[in-house]
């Protein structure tokens, strides 16, 4: 069986430039549509927070849409809406990111807006109060989801010292306690050219994209160096378990989270392949037809023990988690599902993977990485994501690393990861 997937073109390798203020720019051409996708990445997220301020980076992300002296509240929204732009922002454990995909002739405006809010956000007390209820509402929406509730608990028991255990959005109590002064200090500490990078992909020459970005961001002052995160997680020496019992869900869940490695670890591509081998490349919702040849689908869903299963390996700055989630049938048996998952993990860690199966896994892995790169927004995001934690310097390099994974690499990565001592297990038990 062949597993040919065309590698990304050499033009996918980004052009780069470091400005005097420390900001690093990356640019690549994508000529199939008259748009540019611009992403600004800040090295700040849940990882940079301490107890009592959890959720501050996320709260701050919301405040960056509330105006600057040059662009009062509403300007940015109105301009981007007029362009029909695709735009948003997100905060993760490691980074905060803002993006706009705009018509090519408008990207200088998007650059100017982003450069402006990098240093000049107002963050007024009135807007902090107005947005606080929106963020509480966001949190309450998540709390309606049993998978979020269990995942939050599981992440908390997995990390005793590292801030990864705190999650990203913070508790409602913490959100209510946040002050304008605290948010502004966080902003000045982390929002600076020296703690950020910009990725542009789109319908212009790479050098022109860099020139435009340099014009927008070049005049900004460097800012102070962001404080380093120094909270290493000690080794885990035994399984940890948690159970969430609530009425707010009808189906039981089982989640497993094994301590894993950081994005720069050489085994990360093999862990990506391992996730595909276990649960496919595109998620396990009932409507999905792909991924049904995966090991956990066959063991759990095809046998009627569960209705959905997913697996994933994070690309994080510090050692993070390899996660598995199974959604059971309403009358499902947590113990049986957990035992079956562990059996499959044992097998994949200790038995050679047949060549036919590995060829299938490899094809899914490479294709799933190719698909998002066929959109300008997806290509720009993917490049920025790989850069964020040092997984790769380009999409092409990442592809090459994925393509080089062998069946034995997958088995070795499984053996190294699926250790009982680094295992965290969560059950969601619905109450009637």
């Amino acid at each position: 069986m062949t597993t040919q997937v065309a590698s990304p073109r050499t033009s996918d390798a980004p052009a780069t430039r470091r400005l005097d203020n420390g900001l690093v720019l990356y640019a690549a051409e994508a000529r199939h549509a008259p748009v540019v996708s611009l992403w600004v990445w800040y090295h700040v997220g849940g990882r940079n927070e301490v107890p009592g301020t959890t959720g501050m980076s996320h709260f701050l992300e919301h405040m960056l849409f509330k105006g600057t002296p040059a662009h009062p509240k509403g300007d940015l929204d109105r301009l981007l809406a007029r362009y029909g732009a695709l735009w948003n922002a997100f905060t993760s454990e490691d980074v905060t990111c803002y993006f706009e995909t705009v018509p090519v002739e408008r990207y200088p405006v998007a650059l100017e807006l982003e450069a402006d809010r990098m240093r000049n956000a107002l963050i007024s007390s009135e807007e902090v109060e107005a947005e606080r209820t929106v963020i509480v509402s966001e949190r309450e929406g998540y709390e309606n989801d049993p998978s979020f509730l269990l995942g939050e608990e599981l992440q908390a028991i997995a990390f005793g010292r590292h801030p990864y255990g705190q999650g990203v959005i913070g508790s409602k109590e913490e959100i209510r306690l946040m002050t304008r002064e605290g948010l502004f200090a966080h902003y000045r500490r982390f929002y600076a050219p020296s703690n950020a990078y910009v990725v542009l992909v789109g319908d212009d020459e790479a050098e022109a994209l860099l020139d435009r970005a340099a014009t927008a961001f070049g005049p900004l002052e460097e800012g102070e160096a962001a404080p380093l995160v120094r909270a290493p997680e000690p080794a885990q020496h035994g399984e940890r378990r948690t159970v969430v019992r609530r009425a707010g869900g009808a189906v039981p869940l089982v989640q497993l989270a094994f301590k894993s490695v950081r994005a720069t670890d050489p085994t990360v591509p093999a862990l990506q392949a391992l996730a595909v081998a276990l649960a496919g490349a595109s998620g396990g919702a009932q409507e999905a037809a792909s991924g049904r040849s995966s090991r956990l689908y066959r063991a759990l869903v095809a046998t009627g023990l569960a209705t959905e299963v997913e697996a994933g390996a994070g690309l994080n700055k510090d050692p993070f988690l390899f996660t598995i989630e199974a959604t059971l049938r309403p009358d499902g048996d947590h113990s049986a599902v957990e035992a079956r998952i562990l059996d499959e993990l044992e097998r994949i860690a200790h038995e050679p993977m047949p060549a036919e199966e590995f060829a299938r896994v490899r094809k899914q892995l490479l294709a799933a990485n190719a698909f998002p790169s066929d959109t300008v927004t997806g290509r720009s995001f993917r490049l920025g994501q790989l850069l964020s934690a040092g997984a790769a310097a380009s999409i092409g390099e990442w592809y090459a690393r994925l393509a080089a994974v062998t069946a034995d690499d997958v088995r070795s990565a499984a053996a190294a990861t699926f250790d009982e001592r680094s295992r965290n297990v969560g059950w969601f038990v619905p109450l009637s």
Binding site: M1, V5, A30, H32, A33, P34, V35, S37, D77, L80, A81, R82, Y83, G84, L86, V102, P103, A130, E131, T133, V134, V136, S137, E140, G141, N144, A247, G249, A250, V251, G280, A281, A285, Q286, E287, A288, A289, S290, G291, R292, S293, A302, G304, T307, P330, A359, K363, Q364, L365, L366, A367, A368, A370, F371, D374, T375, V376, T377, G378, P430
Partner: protein
């Protein structure tokens, strides 16, 4: 601006009752394939809500020549992503594969759609999963709100009264023979539309489609189901408590209009002026941005052949539900009374036209645009005319459309979540 001016040139073909449209995009490695079957809820027999989805999901569980596991392995051998979704009028097989794999991918999909096994054991698997999904949705605030809203808005036996998941009793009792009959009558017996967008040469793509779907029957299609017009005569409100939740999901809505109705484009603009977007629409700006009452707030108007839902959705703390609703209705009255400035209309039009251009960045965006045009037969020059149609909607048309469809005293309102506070 002509939407298609730069990104794609459309080529069309037909195989039996299947219409095919190909939009090549130079430089891409993959192809997005949308196969729309006219076998959604509208095609379900009266009182048999859920048959369409059960049938559609069962198509992907083995064929007459290979069992479910072999078909799934063949799909994964291609690295293709594929899923089946059932909606108001259509069931859609959405897929993406690498361009060289398109012929093999289409053969697999054609095998599933034209020659499914509909084997009893696999149907039982689909039934069990569907029942689990119904159970899960019974404690999911969004799912409950959607169910309640449909029950308020549509009369008994209307195809949109139930969610696509269906009626639990129908799901429990549906027989394999019933699904086979539905497949023969509503899938083989009707037309479909296949849209291919991405890194392909049109001639090759059309040849691949022709080879894969050559056995699709031709001739006259099954007559469409006749559905009487529905109306919402008064303001209807129902709140259902979903235990142990912190947020209420709210749906405020009306009955929409067919995509083929000439008033649909003005309705899309009206929707944007009113509530479609959190930042570009009047109600969204006030409820989220000014008052901070909701994290998510948006409205949608369904493009179907009938009176699809035209709904505002929001996630709100229970103590803020009434304020958010009153604010939304107050903004609706501004639209109804013509009290909105011209700049609101221009912003809505700019956004809708701009989004057409942004959609060109992805093969999925192009494919969705083409699918709507092909499915509703909007004309060969649709792509040239559509932006201008949006631009030419007048302020009077917005007011007139709102007065025809978005009545401030005749709506269906569903709330699901914690007990509402006084």
């Amino acid at each position: 601006m002509s939407v298609a001016a730069r990104a794609f040139e459309l080529q069309r073909g037909a195989v039996g009752r299947l219409r095919v449209a190909v939009a090549p995009v130079a430089g891409l490695r993959s192809v997005v394939a949308l196969l729309a079957l006219e076998a959604g809820q509208w095609s379900e027999p009266e009182g048999r809500a859920g048959i369409a989805r059960l049938t559609a999901q069962s198509l992907l569980r083995g064929t007459t020549t290979r069992d479910a596991a072999s078909w799934a392995a063949a799909l994964d051998d291609l690295g293709a992503a594929a899923r089946m979704d059932v909606g108001g009028h259509i069931a859609v097989v959405s897929g993406q594969c690498l361009a060289p794999d398109l012929p093999a991918y289409l053969r697999l999909v054609a095998e599933a759609v034209l020659r499914p096994a509909l084997q009893p054991g696999e149907v039982e698997t689909v039934r069990a999963e569907t029942r689990a999904a119904l159970e899960e949705e019974s404690r999911n605030t969004r799912g409950v709100a959607d169910r309640v809203w449909r029950e308020l808005a549509y009369p008994p036996l209307h195809p949109f009264r139930a969610r696509p998941l269906g009626d639990p009793e129908v799901v429990r009792g549906a027989t394999v023979d019933e699904l086979r009959a539905f497949h023969g009558r509503e899938i083989l017996g009707r037309g479909g539309v296949l849209v291919l967008a991405g890194g392909i040469a049109p001639a090759d793509a059309l040849a691949a489609a022709e080879e894969a779907f050559s056995s699709w029957p031709g001739g006259p299609a099954t007559a469409p189901r006749a559905v009487p017009l529905a109306t919402i005569a008064t303001a209807q409100r129902r709140a259902e408590v979903v235990p142990d939740k912190t947020q209420s999901d709210v749906i405020l809505g009306w009955l929409g209009l067919p995509r083929t109705d000439p008033r649909f484009v003005p309705a899309r603009v009206t929707n944007m002026v009113f509530a479609a977007d959190t930042f570009a629409s009047r109600a969204g700006k006030v409820v989220r941005d000014e008052l901070g009452l909701a994290y998510y707030f948006f409205s949608t108007i369904a493009a179907t052949r009938g009176q699809g839902p035209w709904v505002v959705r929001m996630g709100v703390n229970p103590r803020n539900v009434d304020r958010a609703l009153q604010t939304t209705l107050a903004e609706l009255r501004v639209v109804l009374d013509g009290g909105f400035p011209q700049v609101d209309l221009e912003l809505a039009q700019d956004k809708l036209v701009g989004e057409l251009r942004i959609a060109l960045e992805s093969p999925a965006g192009i494919a969705q645009m083409v699918l709507e045009a092909e499915l509703f037969e909007l004309g060969l020059d649709h792509y040239e005319r559509y932006a201008e149609q949006l631009r030419s909607v007048t302020r009077d048309q917005v007011i007139e459309t709102a007065r025809a469809f978005l009545l401030a005293d005749r709506y269906a309102l569903a709330i699901a979540g914690p007990p509402l506070e006084a």
